[in-house]
């Protein structure tokens, strides 16, 4: 066992709250887990050495930082600074309850204790650690039939060299609609572990965004996990910048007929950054659909890892699942490790799965240059367009307008001599 993990387990003994029973369950599982090394399949391409070197610490007080709002978004702003919640500043619409993890009352605890760790798979080592240590976060409950128009924007900013173990539980009642944004940014040396679990009852619809924008020595390991009951839907957009260590696990459990998951993921990596996305879609039941599109641009000597698993269980007939991963490598040293994993145990399903290195669209290049745009500029436009096409698909245009220039700026700074020019 690594010293870091031993330290984490040690720390967990001092956490004592309404989740203790759950935390102890996770702890028991943790004792049997191996620390990820080169031979650990799930961590084959991503080293956790940068994390191992850290001592685990938290901050007594929140630092000073201004979290910028997003023009036109008009969100319910939920900010955590150094793991400290800054409170709900708006009045909440009817049908929506948001409470801090540490302040859950008996009524909230009654369902949340069951939900905690119920759709986050046990296989995630760092998720188990989060189970034992998470001392800040939110419990969000959207009542049956409620249609919450204002997006909930959960932002984590870290201003000190600390570790933050953050946890979010979201429950959408039958037919409820809501939008949740999980955002973490910054460059401060630190470790952020953010795990979120979403439970969608029948016919509930969730619009979800996860922006993993921490770079440099700002390390992150986290996950977003979804359970969909019949005819529930998620539309999720994931965006990743890389850092010395940035890992995201996304799991979707189709647990009711007619559930639908649309996932668009984009990553844009520069210098020696690492971004590792694992997605796992469990079709446990028939007549569900998954449409997952993952696109990345990898520059300089950065490394992207994408592992996309689709698991169609024995009884999951009439499943429709599509997953595509396309990558654009800007240099010879940029690396992409992409691995499709299809496991199909039902016979009447339609499933498409592809991973490719993106090819330049020659007729598009001709079209742009035939209007007088230089070839080099046209290539930049096309390369950026490759990921921007998914930004265009974001259902919330205020978020798209906010994100696009950040991606553009990042892309402009990257090596602009594509290997294929």
């Amino acid at each position: 066992m690594s010293a870091w993990l031993a330290n984490a387990i040690e720390k967990s003994h001092s956490v004592n709250d309404w989740l203790t029973a759950k935390r102890q369950g996770a702890l028991a599982l943790l004792q049997e887990k191996n620390w990820p090394g080169r031979k650990t399949e799930d961590w084959k391409y991503t080293s956790v050495r940068a994390l191992e070197k850290r001592a685990i610490s938290s901050a007594a007080n929140a630092g000073e930082v201004n979290v910028a709002t997003i023009a036109g978004l008009e969100a319910i702003e939920l900010h955590f600074i150094d793991g400290h919640f800054q409170g709900v500043k708006q009045s909440l619409p009817e049908g929506l309850s948001i409470v801090e993890l540490s302040k859950a009352d008996a009524e909230v605890q009654a369902w949340a204790v069951e939900a905690f760790s119920a759709c986050k798979p046990k296989k995630h080592l760092f998720g188990l650690i989060n189970d034992t240590l998470a001392d800040n976060g939110l419990v969000i409950d959207v009542a049956e039939g409620a249609d919450i128009k204002q997006p909930m924007r959960i932002v984590n900013e870290i201003t000190q060299d600390i570790d933050v173990q953050h946890r979010v539980l979201v429950r959408l009642g039958e037919g409820a609609k809501a939008t949740v944004i999980e955002q973490a940014g910054g460059t401060q040396e630190s470790y952020f572990s953010g795990f979120a679990e979403y439970f969608l009852a029948e016919k509930a619809a969730l619009e979800h965004y996860r922006f993993c924008l921490r770079t440099g020595k700002a390390l992150s390991i986290g996950g977003s996990h979804f359970e969909l009951k019949s005819n529930a839907q998620i539309n999720s957009t994931l965006v990743g910048f890389g850092s010395e260590l940035s890992r995201l696990d996304v799991d979707v459990m189709h647990r009711g007929e007619g559930a639908h998951a649309k996932i668009n993921a984009v990553y844009l990596l520069d210098s020696g950054e690492i971004f590792d996305l694992h997605s796992c879609i469990e079709h446990e039941i028939g007549h569900c659909t998954t449409d997952e599109t993952v696109r990345g641009i990898v520059g300089d000597k950065a490394t992207a890892t994408f592992n996309g698993r689709i698991h169609i269980h024995r009884d999951a007939q009439k499943t429709l699942a599509e997953l595509s991963n396309k990558n654009l490598l800007l240099t010879d040293n940029a690396q992409i490790n992409t691995k499709p994993e299809l496991e199909i145990y039902a016979d009447d399903v339609r499933c498409a799965h592809g991973a490719t290195v993106a090819e330049l669209d020659k007729s598009a290049l001709y079209y742009l240059t035939s209007r007088g745009v230089s070839k080099s500029q046209a290539l930049v436009m096309l390369n950026f367009g490759f990921i921007n096409a998914l930004v265009d698909e974001m259902p919330n245009s205020a978020l798209a307008e906010w994100l696009r220039p950040q991606l553009q700026e990042r892309f402009a700074k990257m090596n602009q001599e594509p290997a294929q020019a």
């Binding site: 079209y367 742009l368 240059t369 035939s370 209007r371 007088g372 500029q377 096409a389 265009d392």
Partner: protein
């Protein structure tokens, strides 16, 4: 303006243009008609420099400049514009940023300052309105999900913004209803002056009722086989191209 002499070009080892000659003077409108597969689109591709279209003989100059020696973007900057028969869809690249880059390049070529974003947006909106496209088309991906007619109008919008010297319209009327056709024709007519020239490729007399050509040519099997004034288009509309076969036989006999 444009001088094409004995142009021969091949695609994938197949000769398509077989000695085509054409001169277009400033301010003139030339219509090119002819059967499918004659090489009309190929002419546009060869002149604009599309990859895979290899010139094997002849030459083409635009205002005295050897067109065939220039890069694709240099030809555009020299004032050449092709409205595509099949405009390309480019998701992720907005119409607006595409046109801003193109207009900036054209202005730079003319030694003019780049337009401010606000001025450009104004011009783009005006062009958009002129071709009857909703303004949100500027924000959308280039031609992405546009209908056939919208694509054609988007080509004309680009022409309005770029103010080229020589415009080749490749079947800009096909698939358009009469209202859309008028929009396209009015767009072209608004640009007509004694300096700007047009080559209008079409199958239908209909378009030429709105865009009055100075000359009409018949392109067949890679060559211009007949030229005349606007009345030739009416004849073609009435007679079709069946006469071309006899024409070819006659030509062969004459050369024999």
């Amino acid at each position: 303006m444009l001088k094409i002499r004995n142009l021969k070009a091949k695609v994938e080892d197949k000769e398509i243009l077989k000695g085509l000659s054409l001169e277009v003077k400033p301010g003139e409108v030339h219509a090119i008609m002819g059967p499918n597969g004659a090489g009309k689109s190929t002419l546009g591709y060869v002149l604009t420099g599309r990859d895979g279209y290899e010139v094997t003989d002849g030459d083409a100059t635009l205002n005295g400049e050897d067109l065939l020696e220039l890069e694709i973007e240099e030809r555009a900057r020299a004032g050449l514009f092709l409205a595509f028969q099949y405009p390309v869809e480019i998701p992720g690249v907005s119409n607006l940023e595409f046109m801003k880059a193109a207009v900036d390049a054209a202005r730079e070529e003319r030694g003019e300052d780049a337009l401010s974003s606000a001025d450009f947006l104004k011009a783009a909106k005006a062009a958009c309105k002129q071709v009857n496209l909703p303004l949100d088309f500027l924000k959308r991906g280039v031609n992405e999900g546009f209908s056939g007619g919208e694509k054609k109008r988007n080509e004309i919008m680009q022409m309005l913004l770029l103010q080229p010297k020589l415009c080749i319209l490749d079947e800009s009327d096909s698939g358009l209803d009469i209202d859309a056709l008028k929009v396209v024709a009015e767009g072209v007519n608004s640009q007509r002056d004694d300096q700007r020239s047009f080559i209008v490729v079409t199958h239908y007399q209909r378009l030429l009722d709105y865009i009055k050509p100075d000359f009409v040519h018949v392109l067949s099997d890679g060559k211009i086989v007949k030229s005349g004034d606007a009345s030739l288009a009416h004849e073609l509309e009435a007679e079709g191209y069946a006469w071309l076969e006899t024409y070819d036989r006659q030509a062969e006999e004459e050369t024999a």
